[in-house]
Symmetry: C2
Subunit: 222 residues, 2 copies
Amino acid sequence: MGSWVFFDVDDVLYNATLLKRMARENAVLAMVEAGLPVDFETALKTLLSIVAEKGEDYPRHFDDTLRALGLKVDPRVVAAGVVAYHDTKRAFLKPLPRVFQTLMSLREDGYLLALSSPGVPVKEWEKVIRLGLHHFFERAWFGEPDEPRLERAVRELEISPESAVYVTARPEAVDAAKSVGLLTVRIRSGGSASLDSTVGPDEEVLWAWQAGEAVRSLLPKR
Amino acid sequence: MGSWVFFDVDDVLYNATLLKRMARENAVLAMVEAGLPVDFETALKTLLSIVAEKGEDYPRHFDDTLRALGLKVDPRVVAAGVVAYHDTKRAFLKPLPRVFQTLMSLREDGYLLALSSPGVPVKEWEKVIRLGLHHFFERAWFGEPDEPRLERAVRELEISPESAVYVTARPEAVDAAKSVGLLTVRIRSGGSASLDSTVGPDEEVLWAWQAGEAVRSLLPKR
């Protein structure tokens, strides 16, 4: 039997940070085009401050942007932003360079691959399906904070945690995985690249496509 | 070293027959919507007769359809058809069921995979890239008739033809591959499903996802 490797989704399988930035820029462009009476730079800055204040998952970023600009909420302008945001995500959601080959070669070497991320299950699957990578993964655990989610995966697979690796770009996920006893590979890119975990990861790489070698060095092919 | 398996593209990796039908139906719908003064059924029947007469790769199907209907060629109507045709192909170009898993498991068993089809090289790559399957294939031979193309592949790989398999849905490609000396797996689906090759294939299956077992039976894993 092979060893399990768990993969986080954002900034591991695809460049979530870049995609969000592009989607927000295109949304603002479309809102200006639809009649928002503010220049692009001002509108974008306002949107980004709303995102910073309300959090990534708040569902009313565009409405609040209009309010923050002192404007009435025009549904047509908001809708133009929503459409452009989703069109951009749809058009540009692509795997990071060499991620396909990394997953393929880990499978060829007998590793068992799983997904694990704290996001909403349907949304996480939607991303992985759009990326065209879904068939590589035998199992998936989504939708809980890192520690209970990873504990559940270890329990359900009936493995010892130190025989499995978690690959993630998020420092808080490294800490959770270490506390569960998993081996960890930290990818130092994306929105959290400058932040450190409290406990150091077992291996750290700059790019997702280097994760394959890091996994092999921690958990040699059996 | 593993054994080589060559894959045709149309009706092997994706359902080319169904996709073309959907794209043409959507194109006619868009042309009617853009002002073509003919009902959907008549316009579609005329388009299909033009395709049958001029061949699949003729670049002026929509212009000729308007002419055949006794109308002036309206660039706006033709453009509406072209846009809908390409949008449909873009939205619905997906691998046939279990093709991803078939390719993945052949690779996991050590087979070496290649592409081989007579189409225009850039267009064939465009399809395989949009399907998200391109990284599975180590080599590709496109753009020549079946026999010289397959001969060239065998020569360039320096293999004996009877140590490699060609998987195709086209009866004429079975004959070409047999004359080159390759093992053949015929997939009996798509537009040519009812046609027979002159020389029988080594294995015949109904669906692309059964090709993996057929390949393994002809060319056991080494």
